[in-house]
C-alpha cells in the first residue's frame, strides 16, 4: 500500500521535530528568563525591534531590554568572533569598538549602543579580504598561543593604532591593560602591537 511513503514522511517529520526542539531548548537556555517571543513591555519603554550598525552593515534585530551587546552579537547576529570570557568586564575578551572606542560588549546593553557604529573583529578585513595592519602584525609576530583573548586584544590594538599612531611600548601596555591573557603571552602581544604600528605608519 502506501506504507513506504508514510514511513519516510514520518521519519522526516520526526527529524524535523528533533531539530526544532534542539534549537528551541538551546535558545531557551540562553534566553530562559524572557520568553523571548512574548516579553512584556511597559508603555513608553524602549522599542525592541531595532536596526544596529555592525561592521558597516545595518542589521535589523529583536533585542530584549536586558540583553548585552555580546549576547546580541554572538547569538543573534552570528558574530562569534567576540568572545565571552568572564561576562563581568574583568577579562577583555569581548572588547568591541563603539564609535571607535573600546567597550566590553558583555557589560553594555545592546539598547545603549543603538544608532552607534559597532565594529567587531569580523569587520577588520578589507573588501577584498586583505588583513588589517593589526591582524597582519599578529600573524607576523605569532602574537598569541591559544588566542581566545585575541579578538579583544586586537580590537584594542586597532583603537590604539588609529588614535595614537606613534605610540610607544609603554603606551601600548597602558592601552592594552584592560585585557587578560592566561597563556601569559604579553611580550609577544606587545611585539604585535608595535609591529602593527609600524605597518600602519608605512601604508
Amino acid at each position: 500500500m502506501d506504507e513506504p511513503t508514510t514511513s519516510v514522511s514520518r521519519r522526516n517529520f520526526i527529524k524535523g521535530v528533533i531539530a526544532g526542539g534542539a534549537t528551541a531548548s538551546a535558545s531557551g537556555y540562553l534566553f530562559r528568563q524572557n520568553g523571548v517571543l512574548a516579553q512584556r513591555s511597559a508603555p513608553g519603554s524602549v522599542e525592541r525591534l531595532v536596526t544596529l550598525n555592525v561592521n558597516g552593515q545595518n542589521r535589523p534585530v529583536d533585542i530584549a531590554h536586558e540583553e548585552t551587546l555580546a549576547m546580541t552579537l554572538r547569538y543573534k547576529l552570528g558574530l562569534t568572533g567576540t568572545k565571552l570570557g568572564c561576562d563581568r568586564a574583568e577579562c577583555g575578551a569581548c572588547t568591541v569598538l563603539v564609535d571607535g572606542r573600546t567597550h566590553y560588549a558583555c557589560s553594555i546593553l545592546t539598547h545603549m549602543v543603538r544608532g552607534r557604529e559597532i565594529k567587531t573583529v569580523e569587520g577588520l578585513e578589507g573588501p577584498n579580504g586583505e588583513l588589517h595592519p593589526v591582524q597582519q602584525a599578529v600573524m607576523d609576530e605569532a602574537g598569541f598561543q591559544c588566542a581566545f583573548c585575541a579578538p579583544g586584544f586586537i580590537m584594542s590594538m586597532v583603537a590604539l593604532v588609529e588614535d595614537k599612531p606613534g605610540f610607544t611600548r609603554d603606551e601600548a601596555a597602558h592601552a592594552l591593560s584592560g585585557h587578560i591573557c592566561r597563556c601569559g603571552d604579553y611580550n609577544k602581544i606587545l611585539n604585535s602591537a608595535m609591529r602593527a604600528g609600524e605597518i600602519a605608519r608605512s601604508t
Binding site: 537556555y29 528568563q33 519603554s45 540583553e67 561576562d87 563581568r88 574583568e90 577583555g92 557589560s107
Partner: protein, 335 residues
C-alpha cells in the same frame, strides 16, 4: 557567588530624552534603577542581588554629557565618560589631579563607558554586601565583614558604624579636595551640595553612600577655580595596576607662596565609608614650609584615631605615607 553566564533577569528599560522625563519615571516607579555607564549596575543584576522591574537609562540625555567652562571654573556633565576627563586639555592643565584620578580608574574600556557621575555614586565593593548577604547595609542585622573570622583587608579604618565598608571611588577624593559642588536635580528643582557633604557614612544612613534619595539625579559637577592651576597631587595604591579599586588613595591641592603652604586640601579615599577630608591636617599645614618634617607630622596626624580591623592594619602606614608623599611633593615642585 556563582558566575551565571546567561541573561540578566528581565526588566523594563526606559530611555528618557531629558532630565525631567527621567525624574518623572523615578517618581512613578518606586524601585526604578538609574543606569549610567552600567559598570556598577550589571554585576548586581547578573548576581541577582538586585532585581529592579524598571531601569532608567540616562544615556539618551545629551545635556548630561560634556565639559564646559562656567564662570571661572568648569562644569562637567555627570554622564561624561572618565576617558574624556582623563584626556581633556584644560582639565589636565588646571585640575591635573582629577585627570589623574580618572585615569587611575579600572581599565581603558571601563573609562570609555564609565561616567564621572557613576564613579562618584557607585556603591561600595564590600564583597559580603555585593555578594547579596543580608548585612546591615542590605537591610539586615549583622556585619559579615567585622567578625573574628571575616576577610576585611579592604575595609575601613575610620568612620565605621555597624558597617565597615569603604567608598571605592578614585574621583571622589579629588573632587572633595577641589571643593567641587555636586548639582542635584529633583522634581522640585536643583540644589548644589558641596562634595564633602555629598557623601554620607553609615551613621547617617547605612543603606546609602550619598545624599541622593532615589528620586534625585546627580546631573553635573561644578569645579570652582579655587585650586585651578595650583599644585596638586594624586596617588592611588592598589594590588594590580589595572582594574583594581584603591587600597588607599590620596588627593591633595596646595596654594603656596614660595615654600610656604598658604592653603591646602587633603582628602583620602578607601579608608572610610566616604572620601575623607583631613581638615586637621590642612589646618596644621597652613603657614608651614612644604618639607620632609612637615610631611611626616602631617602623615602622623592623618592616621590619628584610626581603628584598624583584623586584616587591614597595613592601611595605617599606607595612609600615613601617602599623605606624607603628597606634602613632600609640594616641596619638590616649587611654583
Amino acid at each position: 557567588m556563582p558566575v551565571i553566564n546567561d541573561m540578566i533577569p528581565e526588566f523594563d528599560l526606559f530611555q528618557p530624552a531629558d532630565v525631567d522625563g527621567a525624574l518623572e519615571l523615578l517618581a512613578k516607579h518606586d524601585d526604578a534603577w538609574v543606569l549610567a555607564g552600567g559598570l556598577d549596575t550589571f554585576d548586581w543584576f547578573k548576581d541577582r542581588a538586585k532585581r529592579p522591574d524598571v531601569v532608567v537609562d540616562l544615556g539618551a540625555i545629551d545635556q548630561l554629557r560634556g565639559i564646559r567652562e562656567q564662570g571661572d571654573g568648569y562644569e562637567i556633565g555627570a554622564l561624561t565618560p572618565l576617558s574624556d576627563i582623563e584626556n581633556h586639555e584644560a582639565i589636565k592643565a588646571k585640575f591635573p589631579m582629577l585627570a589623574q584620578a580618572a585615569q587611575a580608574v579600572a581599565t581603558p574600556q571601563v573609562r570609555n563607558q564609565g561616567t564621572l557621575g557613576g564613579n562618584i555614586v557607585q556603591d561600595t565593593r564590600c564583597w559580603y554586601y555585593r555578594g547579596g548577604w543580608p548585612c546591615y547595609r542590605a537591610g539586615g542585622n549583622i556585619c559579615y565583614a567585622d567578625t573574628p573570622t571575616s576577610m576585611n583587608r579592604e575595609h575601613c579604618i575610620f568612620g565605621a558604624s555597624r558597617c565597615v565598608a569603604v567608598s571605592p571611588s578614585d574621583s571622589a577624593p579629588a573632587l572633595v579636595a577641589l571643593d567641587a559642588m555636586m548639582v542635584v536635580r529633583s522634581r522640585s528643582g536643583e540644589r548644589e551640595v558641596p562634595a564633602a557633604d555629598f557623601f554620607i557614612g553609615p551613621s547617617t544612613d547605612i543603606t546609602r553612600m550619598t545624599v541622593l534619595n532615589g528620586r534625585e539625579l546627580l546631573v553635573a559637577i561644578r569645579i570652582p577655580s579655587t585650586f585651578a592651576g595650583a599644585h596638586q597631587y594624586f596617588e592611588k595604591v592598589r594590588d594590580r595596576n589595572a582594574w583594581d579599586f584603591p587600597l588607599v588613595n590620596v588627593a591633595a591641592a596646595f596654594k603656596r607662596n614660595g615654600a610656604t603652604i598658604e592653603d591646602a586640601r587633603v582628602a583620602v579615599g578607601a579608608v572610610a565609608p566616604y572620601p575623607m577630608r583631613l581638615e586637621a591636617v590642612e589646618a596644621q599645614l597652613r603657614g608651614k614650609n612644604a618639607d620632609e618634617a612637615t610631611g611626616k607630622s602631617a602623615g602622623e596626624l592623618a592616621i590619628k584615631g584610626a581603628k584598624p580591623l583584623r586584616h587591614n592594619g597595613y592601611k595605617l602606614p599606607l595612609m600615613r605615607n601617602l599623605v606624607m608623599r603628597a606634602v613632600r611633593d609640594a616641596q619638590s615642585a616649587q611654583a
